[in-house]
């Protein structure tokens, strides 16, 4: 059979057989694109750090997603055999993707355009909802020996609530942050700690490994098409927070 393998395709029992060269080639292409997307991600972060050139937000998204799409098309066409298969199967998949597009598109249109008539309709009024505190009384003991966690956050968001808990546990903010430093220096992935210290009025300047920490940057909606300086962004953010508070 080996002499047949040199053909791009051959047929077994009427069904196409993809040759091993094509399969291996596709695998190599997929690995290459994986490398490329990671490289793209790191290069982008590096450019920002090294040269302080702030790329607009869409570069990152479009880069990553278009490479992923190419990879997906490769898998569908060759590994899944859509290229050699009945057109009906491809059509089913494409129509399904069309529905996915509708689903995402329309949902996002709604959530993104609530402020078109009155700007305040967009505003997040409060972390309200289930009574502000995330209370969940224990599940009926008859049916569950391990009741789900019950948290009373006293009107705080759970993120803030956990911070308060830890602060209480550690006793002081100093201890809290040094615990943070110790923990995250070990794990090598961290948030921008200096920002915190600055916010809290401390003058610590800790150099953390930045391997897994890119600059905070504005995302899809605000400033998707604008390059945002992280320092300014941090500044804007705190200003935003402030205005939100006063709004309520």
């Amino acid at each position: 059979m080996s002499n047949h393998d040199t053909h791009a395709e051959e047929h077994a029992h009427g069904h196409p057989v993809v040759s091993w060269q094509i399969q291996l080639g596709v695998l190599l292409a997929l690995l290459f694109f994986t490398f490329a997307t990671v490289l793209f991600y790191n290069a982008e972060s590096w450019v920002e750090h090294a040269f302080e050139i702030h790329l607009p937000g869409w570069v990152n998204i479009v880069g990553a997603m278009s490479i992923a799409t190419v990879k997906a098309i490769l898998v569908c066409m060759f590994f899944m055999g859509l290229k050699y298969d009945k057109a009906l199967n491809t059509f089913a998949m494409l129509f399904c993707l069309f529905c996915v597009g509708l689903f995402l598109g329309f949902s996002m249109i709604d959530l993104d355009t609530r402020d078109r008539v009155e700007p305040w309709r967009k505003a997040e009024a409060s972390l309200g909802g289930t009574g502000k505190s995330l209370d969940s009384p224990p599940i009926d003991a008859r049916f569950d020996a391990n009741p789900s966690p019950s948290v009373s956050t006293g009107g705080l968001s759970i993120v803030e609530f956990r911070r308060q808990q830890k602060l209480e546990e550690k006793g002081s903010e100093e201890a809290f942050w040094s615990y943070y430093y110790k923990k995250h220096a070990e794990h090598q992935h961290s948030a921008d700690i200096n920002n915190y210290f600055a916010k809290l009025g401390y003058d610590h300047h800790v150099e953390l490994p930045t391997a897994n920490k890119a600059v905070p940057r504005h995302g899809l909606t605000p400033g998707l098409f604008a390059a945002v300086d992280p320092k300014e962004a941090a500044h804007d953010k705190s200003a935003d927070d402030h205005s939100d508070d006063s709004d309520h």
Binding site: R114, V117, E118, W120, R121, K122, A123, E124, A125, S126, L127, G128, G129, T130, G131, K132, S133, D135, P137, S152, G154, G155, H248
Partner: protein
């Protein structure tokens, strides 16, 4: 009132049957007119189709030995006709609907903005000067063959006549929907963001009068017009009683009212008013059971008594306990009750809370007359709580 083309001042007989002829604003009259237009369009096609159907059924009923006459299996022209004509009419409906939607959702920039708060199961309207209405109204229909529960009073929200009003709404817990049928519009009230709409209140006619009961319980007739406010989005047990009254009054009366509500008053009276408008739907003061524990001082309820908590502990119902229960209600739940109460942090000022405290305390000190009244409800309160 400037009437747009679609609406008519004299609603037709049919329109009166369908809507009750009570459209209170231009936009409402306009949307009624649009509805009637769609109605006549639908009625035309419905009668046409049903008429043909009945006619065919009679004319072409099966006769023994007679086969169906051959006729075309399709006819492109007629099929195109009955695709295009309805489609074009639909386009008209869409455009007019869009226009009416804009009339109902967009209000002028100088409109009076009212803040609406909703929670299970009450409404609260805050006026531009920060005051809110303490007045309530008995609903006669609730008095029928049941004993009148103290929880069946509904707040009255006053708005001046002939004014553009803009609502800015927010919910404390689940989704509600603020519906004033007479303005023909509603909008959901959502916990995580503001929603809203606008309407223009009608000018009062001479025949519009309402009965007003003042602080001393003396009723008098004032010019005004009452409208229902309903919660239209299902929100739980008392969903069907989450109603209120919108009262349109002359500008002078409105100004006087909100100025009066804005001035400080005796904490006990303030507390009582707050209870009526905000708390009464769940907490009774006569011992009858409700969604929340009664405030009446009996059977271990009320101020100064020990409360049995669902985690097994006991707590004294003192000032601190009540304050915490208002601001962080789910920190401690009284045994036998669901954690249904939303937090009133930001809803009630310190003055308000002091007022409520004073009112709750006053219940415990109330005289023996009331105690007697409460005796009857004792058994029930015990069994349910």
């Amino acid at each position: 009132m400037n009437i747009p083309t679609l609406a008519s001042t004299n609603a037709s007989f049919l329109q009166r049957i369908i809507f009750g002829d009570n459209a209170a604003s231009e936009a409402a009259a306009w949307s009624d007119g649009l509805f009637m237009m769609i109605f006549w369009f639908s009625a035309f096609f419905f009668v046409l189709l049903m008429g043909l159907m009945v006619y065919f059924c009679i004319k072409y009923r099966r006769k023994p030995g007679v086969a169906a006459e051959p006729s075309p299996h399709h006819n492109l022209h007629i099929e195109i006709l009955w695709t295009v004509v309805p489609s074009a009419s639909l386009l008209v409906m869409f455009v007019l609907g869009f226009k009416g939607y804009a009339m109902k959702t967009v209000s002028p920039t100088d409109a009076m903005e009212l803040k609406v708060d909703a929670w299970k199961w009450a409404w609260k309207v805050t006026y531009p000067n920060g005051a809110s209405s303490p007045e309530t109204k008995f609903l006669s229909y609730q008095e029928t063959d049941i004993g009148i529960s103290s929880g069946l009073e509904y707040p009255i929200f006053y708005v001046p006549e002939d004014t553009e009003v803009k609502l800015r709404m927010h919910s404390q817990d689940v989704i509600h929907s603020f519906w004033i049928p007479e303005f023909r519009t509603k909008m959901d009230v959502i916990p995580n963001r503001y929603t809203g709409y606008g309407f223009k209140t009608p000018a009062l006619r001479d025949s519009d009068t309402v009965i007003q009961v003042d602080d001393q319980g003396i009723s008098s007739e004032i010019p005004g017009r009452d409208m229902w406010i309903f919660c239209a989005e299902y929100c739980g047990d008392e969903h069907s009683r989450m109603a209120a009254t919108l009262r349109i009054v002359p500008r002078e009366i409105y100004d006087e009212k909100i100025k009066f509500w804005g001035t400080p008053k005796d904490p006990k009276v303030l507390g009582q008013q707050l209870w009526k408008t905000m708390c009464a739907i769940c907490h009774s003061i006569d011992g009858s059971p409700g969604t929340g524990p009664t405030w009446a001082p009996m059977n271990g309820y009320g101020f100064g008594n020990m409360a049995q908590m669902d985690d097994g502990t006991e707590m004294m119902r003192d000032d601190n306990y009540i304050r915490q229960s208002i601001l962080d209600p789910n920190a401690h739940i009284v045994s036998g009750y669901a954690p249904a109460m939303p937090s009133f942090q930001g809803q009630l000022s310190d003055t308000d809370i002091e007022g409520l405290l004073a009112f709750i305390k006053s219940l415990a000190e109330s005289d023996s007359d009331e105690q007697e009244d409460n005796q009857q409800a004792d058994d029930s309160a015990g069994s349910d709580g």
